[in-house]
């Protein structure tokens, strides 16, 4: 009888709303923040997608900036960013933990961008998205602001002169701070090839942005 009473008392507890539950135990966002990338991925690999938001917060800006600068198309960059994180969840088991999560995400993003450019009409747009999206710094003088925007446009245009391989290498090296070994992993080539790509990219950018003839050429001529 006591057992029956205990059973009845327990049955008065509120019923949980199943619609708010995911496939497995829900975790607190605060708890997620303290976990490393690899720990978050292990949770995802176990079939629990609750770390998705945390991983997105950690890497979406880097992926979005990389894809935007690569493609110079904000719509494509948005699609690419979404796809990177969806693929990350779908193919989480392919992440073996030997590489950094960022390296894996950048390889997905770079693949997506290469596929995008390979398709017929998907050439980088000559758009002014960067001017539209960035709020101007009001503390600067109008003249300085104009100059800054012109420089940004020049850089964007100079980046588009590069071959996709060179652009990928210089974006990952200059803006994402990745090592040549990591870039080689992402691009699926040797470290030597990455060095060559960065070197060629820098040669082209130097000509385009500083408007100088190659000093190396002058050096060789002088000698």
């Amino acid at each position: 009888m006591k057992a029956l009473r205990r059973l009845l008392r327990n049955s008065k507890q509120p019923v949980r709303n199943l619609s708010t539950m995911s496939a497995s135990k829900q975790r607190e966002p605060r708890e997620m923040k303290s976990l490393s990338d690899h720990e978050l991925m292990r949770i995802v690999q176990a079939g629990d997608f609750s770390p998705a938001a945390e991983i997105y917060d950690r890497y979406s800006a880097r992926i979005y900036n990389f894809t935007y600068r690569f493609l110079r198309n904000s719509e494509a960059a948005e699609d690419a960013t979404q796809e990177v994180f969806v693929k990350m969840l779908k193919h989480a088991n392919q992440f073996n933990g030997e590489a950094k999560l960022s390296t894996w995400l950048f390889s997905i993003a770079a693949n997506w961008c290469r596929d995008y450019l390979r398709k017929g009409d998907n050439k980088p747009k000559d758009s002014d998205d960067v001017l539209v999206q960035l709020p101007a710094d009001q503390s600067e003088s109008p003249h300085h602001r104009l100059e800054q925007r012109e420089n940004q446009l020049r850089i964007q245009k100079a980046l588009q002169i590069l071959t996709p391989d060179q652009r990928e290498a210089i974006l990952l090296s200059r803006y994402q701070g990745l090592s040549y070994a990591e870039i080689a992993q992402i691009s699926g080539c040797s470290e030597g090839a990455v060095k060559t790509r960065v070197f060629r990219a820098m040669e082209t950018l130097k000509k385009a942005l500083t408007g100088e003839a190659s000093g190396g050429e002058r050096c060789l001529t002088a000698l």
Partner: protein, 346 residues
């Protein structure tokens, strides 16, 4: 000149701080001494810092929500019917549940018949052993279970096993019958026992099925092989299908203990129609099995085959020669291979 070419190539590496200390120092020294390269270096540095002006863009906030919606689609509020327990019916429902549980337990407990009698009926029409098997129930009481048990004669069942049925809890029994009947019991949709002579096609197929489906029946595997050895080692019961099944176990099973048992059983089986299968499986095991104990058993088995007077085929001899000469092979395996070769009559 060659120095300038090398230094120029190293300048981007200098920018990304990817040079080792020695080369970094050498490059800096060259830049200081060579005016043209100094100018080149200044150009690189200017370009590098100019690139910094490209701003970091902010991710549009709507993108996160779109992504999370793809991960966990929101439930349509209109389709959600809130669940409210009805206090008025609660006591009634609980009382009904108690009655159902108590009544059900009483009914099930009294439905289990006495375990002393066994009635075996032959079904009128042959049946197939399948995963959804509508067999005519022939009631056999089980002393340990409240589930129904059916007994079927092997001759009343088609020997074709369809649909890879998931059979569990397999056990083997030697029936005290004058014609050496055996019985194989297992759970499918109900507990079932198939009885028949070891040579009946249905019994052979059933044994083969049990042997070859180790992935789902691993605990049964060694018992099945033992049973096969004791039953099919008798000359009258030899069957090529059993030999092939054992050869497959030797090739495919992941447990070395099971593979060793398969080799031992293959050695004990009387020469039947599948000697080639047996020999091929032993040769393959000797060549490729990762476990030296299995390879040792295989070489012994091949040696026995040769001693039994079987004609020494070139494949067996080649494999034995290769093993005897293989430097990185286990010493016992090499010695056994050499012994087997020495027993071959020229």
């Amino acid at each position: 000149m060659s120095d300038c070419i090398v230094m120029r190539e190293q300048m981007p590496l200098l920018l990304t701080e990817s040079l080792d200390p020695v080369r970094r120092e050498t490059t800096h020294q060259h830049i200081e001494q060579c005016a043209a390269c100094g100018e080149e270096w200044a150009g690189y540095r200017e370009t590098w810092s100019f690139l910094e002006q490209l701003p970091e863009l902010e991710v549009p906030p709507r993108m996160k929500q779109q992504f999370l919606n793809r991960v966990n689609p929101p439930v349509e509020a209109a389709n959600v019917v809130p669940f409210h327990r009805r206090p008025a019916l609660r006591w009634l429902a609980q009382a009904a549940a108690v009655v159902v549980i108590a009544g059900g337990s009483y009914f099930v407990g009294h439905r289990t018949p006495s375990p002393t009698t066994t009635v075996v009926d032959k079904p009128a029409t042959p049946a197939l052993v399948t995963s959804a098997m509508p067999l005519r129930p022939n009631y056999q009481p089980a002393a340990f279970s409240i589930a129904e048990s059916r007994v079927l004669d092997a001759n009343s069942i088609s020997p074709v096993i369809e649909g890879r049925p998931d059979i569990q809890n397999i056990s083997f029994t030697q029936l005290n019958a004058p014609d050496d009947q055996i019985g194989v019991s297992f759970d499918i949709t109900s507990h079932m026992t198939v009885t028949g002579r070891p040579t009946d096609k249905t019994m052979v197929r059933l044994m083969r099925y049990v042997l070859e489906n180790e992935d789902r029946m691993a605990p049964t595997q060694t018992r099945a092989i033992d049973w096969v050895r004791s039953t099919y080692s008798q000359p009258g019961n030899a069957d090529p299908e059993i030999t092939r099944a054992l050869a497959n176990v030797l090739r495919n099973d992941s447990h070395e203990g099971v593979r060793i048992k398969a080799v031992e059983t293959l050695t004990n089986l009387p020469a039947g129609g599948a000697t080639n299968d047996s020999r091929d499986a032993l040769i393959q095991a000797l060549k490729t099995d990762p476990n030296p104990a299995v390879r040792l058993k295989a070489v012994e088995a091949l040696s026995n085959l040769l001693k039994k007077g079987g004609q020494a085929d070139p494949a067996t001899l080649d494999t034995l020669r290769a093993k005897a000469a293989q430097d990185d092979e286990n010493m016992y395996v090499r010695v056994k291979a050499a012994e087997a070769l020495s027993s071959v009559k020229p």
